[in-house]
Symmetry: C2
Subunit: 245 residues, 2 copies
């Protein structure tokens, strides 16, 4: 089959629709870009609905002329491969360790939280009101493939629907520090950097905990990373004991 | 004085030169954008060399027609204020707690490390070979003002020049976990996500430590954040005990 050479090609138009949340919501699909991400999807057992590659690259998929592919890419000009997948949503947030995000509007932060959730073995990430779409291009990229490995669930903001002990990471000095290992099923609730968690949600949680820092704040992804690290402290990390560096 | 209305204005050309590393290196200056960052600089006692604001904004500084200012901005169209500062470099990395970065080429990661260094009270951040310029626009932005508060030093990669016990965050399973509080002056050494720290540098360090994770890696900023959190565990965080959420 000859490569696609026109940016007006109907199939490429669908790709462009998936760059927007509305397009993703309507189709239930999303796009991952780049060979590393596609390999991560393959490894996690995700079969693409469609796969595209730069003409002449020798990669699998429908060939697209390189300039045209770059034009479709959301993440810069170097992309040689991208693929469309069906979104997967769990019916409900699962334990033993769940991360609930509230109002995390930055897709990079959402993706980074997914990555931390994978690194520290969280069972699921629940996305509450005001969160960026984890299947958006920036979130998928920031997740470095964790989007294909960590179960995702939509959450209404109803604390009763969250698994285990609910622990709100809170900005108030009165809260005690988070102390791991938690030793019980739990959900860690993280709010946006400035707004924090809504008062009603804080009150509905079993307890609050803080991360002791000297400056005013950490961003949500850093907070989630530390909370997950602390929550899983001393647990057996299995065969994949690797450092960060 | 009437607002600057031409994108070809000589002073704006200097701003654009500062967007590039070469321009910053030659002049020893840098640009911070946005009212929050400029307020952080003011609060930290930094006096701008020059200050610009959108015409009619009522902000202090030389007025620039909004469209022209947006054109100069490196960080999107909404910027209403920016300012030029002299870079500040410490003569040497300082303890008691120092973070040394090696080969961290992503400016967002460098800026995020500065932010974590501030959050956990590090005395300085040392930038070794291959690191992004902490005074570049993306690093300054990601630091959320920490660039004005955390002393920065250039480092050659010579471990002997780093303060205290040198602890390499290492990817090898053989290393013991990092255990805080360290209880002694120390430098935490962080390498790039895939490459890690060079072998010679690892060998020159007093010891290595790892962060136990289940997935293959964290990015350098997440690794540094956890290492700083662990290193300062249980220390008195002073008056600013705030959580992350």
């Amino acid at each position: 089959m000859p490569p696609i050479t026109s940016p007006h090609n109907e199939r490429l138009k669908e790709l462009r629709r998936l760059a927007r949340k509305r397009g993703r919501d309507e189709s239930g699909r999303f796009v991952a870009e780049g060979e590393d991400l596609l390999a991560a999807a393959d490894e996690a057992g995700w079969r693409p609905v469609e796969r595209y590659c730069a003409a002449g690259s020798g990669l699998p998929g429908t060939e697209v002329e390189a300039d045209v592919l770059a034009h479709v890419s959301q993440l810069g000009s170097g992309t040689r491969a991208l693929a469309v997948y069906e979104q997967r949503w769990a019916d409900a947030p699962a334990g033993p360790l769940c991360v609930y995000l509230h109002g995390i509007a930055d897709p990079g932060n959402v993706g980074t939280v997914l990555r931390s959730a994978l690194a520290f073995g969280a069972a699921s990430v629940a996305l509450g009101p005001g969160c960026a779409d984890p299947f958006g291009p920036k979130a998928v990229r920031a997740s470095m493939g964790a989007v294909f490995q960590v179960p995702l669930a939509r959450a209404s903001g109803d604390v009763a629907a969250l698994p285990g002990t609910t622990i709100a990471l809170d900005a108030h000095a009165g809260s005690g520090p988070l102390h791991g290992p938690l030793g019980e099923p739990a959900t860690l609730l993280i709010g946006a950097e400035r707004a924090g968690l809504p008062e009603a949600l804080l009150e509905a949680c079993d307890r609050t905990a803080r991360i002791p820092i000297r400056s005013e704040s950490l961003n949500a992804a850093m907070a989630a990373t530390i909370a997950l690290y602390e929550a899983t402290r001393g647990e057996d990390a299995g065969d994949h004991r690797m450092s960060a560096a």
